[in-house]
Structure formats: C-alpha cells, structure tokens
C-alpha cells in the first residue's frame, strides 16, 4: 500500500466548534522522514489541525492514519506511546518540578519504570544519566535544579524541546516553537530543531517564514480551515494566491472559502 510511506495521514478531517469549522475536510499527508511545515494567516486552522493529528482534540469527521493504521479512536497518550510526540504552543513545562525532574519524568515511561511506586528516581542511573546528557546537549546544566516555572521564557522552550526529544519520537510535532522568542533564541532553537529532524519525521506549525524557509522541505498553506497550497518553499512562495492570503491582495484562489 502507498500509505506506508506516510508517517501521518489525515482523510477528510474536520473539526467544528459550535457551527464554525476550524478545519474542514482536510486531506493531509506527512511523508516519512520529511520536515514539513504548516503555515497560514491567523485563524487558518493550523493549530486545530495539529491538535487533531495528535489527538488532543477529537475530530468531528474524518480519519487519521499512522503508519497506515487507523488511529482515529486513540487518546493522546496512546499516540505518544506509538512514537508520535508533540510540543505545545504555550510552553508546556512542569513548572513545579526542577529542570532535571522535567526530563526524568519524560524518561520514566520509555525506561519502563513509570509504574514503580517505591523506588527512588535518583537511584535509576539509566534515567539520571540520560537526563544529564540531555541537559548538556541543550545547555540546561546551569539550571538543573531550578524550578522550570522560574526559567526565562527562551529556556522554557528549550526545556520543552529537550523533553519532547528525550522520548526519541519517530514523529515529532512542534506547535509554533518560536512563539514569543527573541532573535538570539530563534537562531539557537532553529539549529536544535534541524538537528532533531535528522532521521525523524517532523511537522511544525510556524509563523516565522525565515525559520520555515530554512527548515522545511515541504510546506502546506492553510487558509480558513482548508488547504490552499502545498509544495516546496519556492513553489509555495511564488504562488500569487498564497501571497494574497498573506497580504490580502485579491488573487485567484483566495476567493473561495
């Protein structure tokens, strides 16, 4: 079957909020091993599509396939167990835990000890060492024992990325990883994401076109809950209807919603 080439596939996916379709009959394919970005103006339905693909939201209609298997009824936790792991738009760290504990928590399940009720986390070398390695890799060592909630915003995003990657996901979904970051953070996180994309399938929702142009091999443009265009950055950015969607100049394809 052809669908084995796709890590994630959406068929006729829709999501309705009280009469309003945030995502309407979207067919979408995420090719295995690619770095793929979803872009579009505000309110285009990018984040909703993303939430549907990761099963954070249940679709109103349509199906989602992972490695060719129907995963529509699964919960978000089960998607993660299948290796489909996401980040959140508003930096999602466990703010009451230290940076080290944030990473350890993520590592418990893969290490098979998340249901250990009486052992000490600190006595599990495989978890502790891996957490240390991740803190080194992501430049978080100096913050190891700081509460994640007290980190500067840019570091929170780095921590979230590190936590997400600690699961060694096969499919990685990043929801606006650059949101709210300063210029200096953007460069560093772009590099981290590029490195993370090696050997993985990566989908990101992002507003920063420079980042998208640098990272993504394939781009899907959404407008008003539907897919307007798809292709490489050059293909997409040369289309007049895409520019129209962004700048509002009345172009060909933008008239239909």
């Amino acid at each position: 079957m052809n669908n084995a080439d796709y890590a994630l596939e959406a068929k006729g996916l829709s999501r309705e909020f009280g009469g309003f379709f945030a995502v309407r009959s979207v067919d979408f394919r995420l090719a295995r091993g690619s770095i793929h970005a979803v872009i579009g103006p505000n309110g285009a339905g990018k984040t909703t599509l993303f939430n549907l693909l990761t099963k954070y939201l249940a679709p109103s209609a349509g199906a989602i396939l992972h490695d060719g298997e129907d995963v529509t009824p699964l919960a978000m936790a089960q998607m993660a167990q299948r290796g489909v792991v996401r980040s959140f738009q508003i930096s999602a760290v466990f703010s009451g835990l230290s940076v080290r504990q944030n990473l350890e928590l993520a590592l418990l399940r893969p290490a098979g000890i998340a249901w250990n009720l009486l052992g000490l986390v600190s006595r599990r070398p495989e978890v502790a060492e891996r957490a240390n390695a991740l803190m080194h890799q992501f430049g978080l060592v100096e913050y190891a024992d700081a509460l994640a909630g007290n980190l500067p915003y840019g570091r929170k995003r780095v921590l979230e990325l590190a936590t997400t990657l600690s699961l060694e996901p096969k499919v990685l979904l990043l929801d606006e990883p650059m949101a709210g970051l300063g210029r200096e953070d953007i460069g560093r996180i772009t590099d981290l994401i590029r490195a993370a994309g090696k050997g993985r399938t990566l989908l990101l929702v992002e507003h920063n076109m420079k980042v998208v142009a640098e990272l993504a091999e394939r781009i899907t443009v959404m407008v008003r809950g539907e897919i307007l265009a798809e292709g490489s950055y050059q293909e997409v950015s040369s289309r007049s209807d895409v520019m129209a969607a962004y700048t509002g100049q009345t172009g060909a394809g933008a008239a239909h919603g």
Binding site: F20, G43, H207, M243, T247, Q249, A255
Partner: protein
C-alpha cells in the same frame, strides 16, 4: 491636528515573557493609522495594553493629554476608547440584538442603532439569532457595530479582515472609510497589507515589540518590498 493618542516607551508582559519592548507612536484626531508586522510582533498586545487588558504594563499612554497607563479598562473606555478584539468577542449566551446593545453609551455623539444597522444591513434580519450563530463576516460586523453607538471616538480594530472572504473584506474596508469620514480616529492592526494600504494615513511597522519604521500611506506601494522583508515574506 492635535495628537489624540500618544504611546511612549510602552512595555507589556505575559507572565514572565516580555512582549512589548518600548512601543512609541501617536495618532492624530481623525486619522486612520495601522500597525503592521508579522504574527507575534506585539500588535494585538499593543491594543490590549492601550485598553488596559494587560495585567503588567509600563511606559506612558495618553489620551488627549491624560495619562491612562494605570487606569482600569472601564475607566479607559470612558476616555472615549473602544476595542474590537481579534477574536471578535461575540457573546454566545446573548442574541445579536443583546450583543449590539450591550455596550452602554458613555458619551454623546455616538451613532444611533438605526444608523449602525444601516451600516450593516445584514445584521437587521439576524437580530434574534444567537450571537455566535452568525457567519464570521457577520460576527465581525457585529463586533464593530456594537462599539459605534457608545460615543467612543477612538476605535482600536484588531485584524477585522482575519479569516474573511474578499467580498466581506471589501465591505469592511468601505465601512472603515465611512467611519473615517464621520470623524472617528482609528488604530488598525492588520496583516492584510493590501487592505491597510488603501485605508490608512500612516503605517507603523512593528517588530519584536518595537516600532521599527513609519511609512506614510501614499508611500506604501512603493515600499512594498521593504515591507515584505519586515513581514518575513
């Protein structure tokens, strides 16, 4: 013309994250001014900060010379400001009529309800529907219409074209022209450059929480390429 709204060194935070790093701009009475910039640049936050909706803000915002940086939203409204928010803020537990009549008239000189409905005839037939059952365009008109009868003179409009079809966008553009002709002062946040270019007297370009450029209305088309760089297109 006198400056009616002056923003100096405006800073604002969401929790720990600083979003505005010293915005400086001003609007003169009767002007239409836009804030342009990519998503996340701080345009919406600027409007919210002016309206008193950001918990933590610093700097100076003056309306006709009066400082409002520390004022509560309901007092800021009494200075003649009104906000049409990005998400439109139509109340789902209210009918269209209730939504329209909700904001009380705080000053003289607002439009009458009949005038508002003449401006947006679509709303007339839908007055008894639930507010959020309207289409996106109708909701936008409702959100705009309900602040026109309050007597507010300075309108803060946050992306009124977002997610709307071109024919509706044109209609909203014509409405803003009419409002300008009626003497309203308008601060418009837009991503839709083409829409903004036809309407505004001046444009401010916002990047990473600061105003980085000011473009007079007539020069916008000539400087479209510069602008596209700013917008990251």
């Amino acid at each position: 013309m006198a400056e009616t709204l002056t923003v100096d060194r405006l800073e604002a935070w969401y929790g720990d994250s600083k979003v505005l790093h010293g915005m400086d701009f001003n609007i003169r009475a009767g002007e239409v001014v836009t804030l342009l910039g990519r998503n996340g640049a701080g345009k919406t936050t600027t409007l919210k900060a002016i309206m008193g909706l950001m918990e933590r803000r610093a700097g100076s915002i003056r309306v006709d010379g009066a400082e409002i940086i520390a004022a509560a939203p309901y007092d800021i409204a009494r200075k003649g400001l009104a906000l049409c928010p990005e998400e439109r803020g139509i109340f789902s537990s209210l009918s269209v009529r209730e939504n329209l009549l909700l904001p009380p008239a705080l000053a003289k000189g607002g439009m009458t309800i009949a005038q508002v409905l003449d401006l947006f005839p679509n709303l007339k037939e839908r007055l008894d529907s639930q507010g959020t059952k309207l289409s996106g365009g109708e909701q936008q008109m409702l959100a705009l219409g309900r602040i026109l009868h309050t007597g507010a003179r300075i309108l803060l409009l946050d992306e009124p074209t977002e997610g709307l079809a071109p024919v509706i966008i044109q209609q909203i553009g014509r409405t803003i022209e009419k409002l300008k002709a009626l003497g309203f002062t308008i601060l418009l946040v837009e991503q839709n450059v083409a829409f903004a270019s036809g309407l505004a007297d001046r444009h401010y370009v916002v990047e990473l929480g600061r105003v980085v450029d000011e473009i007079p209305g007539p020069e916008l088309d000539a400087r479209l390429d510069t602008l596209k760089t700013y917008l990251g297109l």
